[in-house]
């Protein structure tokens, strides 16, 4: 068990590297939105590497299929969580750091902190679509 096996250990090492950079990014990036870039992308691929290494280590077919399912749902859920966190933060009024390096900040949504108004507009649009469908 203690010797190095490339097929198992290289995916795990790559995965561990990306999870480490995700942790460094979480500390070093300036605000929640930029930190979500680190947590959604790096953690997804990082843990995928670790799962892959584990699946190749366990030669048992049942363990392999289960890890494949874990991998699939991991890819579907982690990015969606980042989306929901970013949306909740923005609509509740956490201002994103924009621009920098002499560049002008761009916010093309312009709904910062307007959770109530956006929810109301959503409900109105849904109602209009339902009425149109009938």
């Amino acid at each position: 068990m203690s010797d190095f096996s490339p097929l198992r250990d290289i995916p795990i090492l790559i995965g561990a590297f990306f999870v480490l950079t995700a942790a460094i990014g979480l500390v070093r990036f300036p605000d929640l939105y930029t930190r979500l870039h680190a947590s959604s992308k790096l953690v997804t691929l990082g843990s995928a590497g670790i799962f892959l290494g584990a699946a190749l280590e366990l030669t048992d077919a049942a363990a392999f299929t289960r890890l494949a399912a874990v991998l699939l749902f991991h890819f579907l859920t982690t990015p969606l969580t980042a989306y929901l966190i970013a949306q909740a933060a923005y609509l509740r009024g956490l201002p994103p750091l924009l621009g920098g390096g002499g560049r002008r900040g761009i916010d093309e949504w312009g709904a910062l902190g307007q959770a109530e108004q956006v929810a109301q507009a959503d409900r109105d649009a849904q109602r209009a679509m339902t009425a149109e469908g009938e």
């Binding site: 990306f18 950079t21 992308k41 790096l42 890819f75 990015p79 970013a86 920098g100």
Partner: protein, 166 residues
């Protein structure tokens, strides 16, 4: 008939003719069946199915490349002394419709280089996204539109929504 159904049916027929019930024979039958559907698209009406399947295969390759680029980019940003983040919020007009397709788009956008999806307009025709590491808003929009183009090529074309006059 639906292309995928026909393809599976051909795979089962192949397995029965091979006289062996196994995943291996099923796979061989599926691939041979796919070849038949590719050779006779006019007679079987499977041109769209073959085109979408190949687009999906191409999409998987494209996605794996994007995922690698995205991770290397953010990892470098995390390790560099002064990363040129230049964060911005961009609005992207969408052609993709439907809740599940747009959910898939959000997942893919969040795994692509430099973008995290933030929300939709009430009519679901605009996606708002947070972008880092791009020089301007146009470049950030272009990367999301590229993903959307790939997704649209993998999907069956929708008939246009009929206009309802009041």
């Amino acid at each position: 008939m639906n292309g995928l159904t026909l393809n599976l049916l051909l795979a089962v027929v192949w397995m029965l003719l091979a006289g062996e019930v196994s995943a291996r024979e099923l796979l061989i039958g599926f691939l041979l069946g796919f070849g038949v559907l590719t050779l006779f698209p006019r007679a079987l009406g499977t041109g769209g199915y073959v085109r979408r399947s190949l687009a999906t295969l191409g999409f998987v390759g494209f996605f794996l490349r994007e995922l690698t680029v995205a991770n290397v980019q953010v990892a470098l940003f995390a390790l560099r002394p002064h990363p040129p983040l230049n964060p911005m919020l961009v609005a992207v007009p969408l052609r993709l419709r439907g809740d599940s397709a747009q959910t898939l788009l959000v997942v893919l956008v969040n795994l692509s280089p430099g973008t995290v999806a933030l929300g939709f307009s009430p009519d679901r025709r605009t996606l708002y996204a947070h972008a880092i590491g791009t020089p301007d808003a146009q470049a950030a929009r272009a990367s999301i539109i590229r993903i959307e183009d790939h997704l649209l090529r993998c999907m069956a074309p929708h008939p246009p929504r009929p206009e309802v006059s009041p």
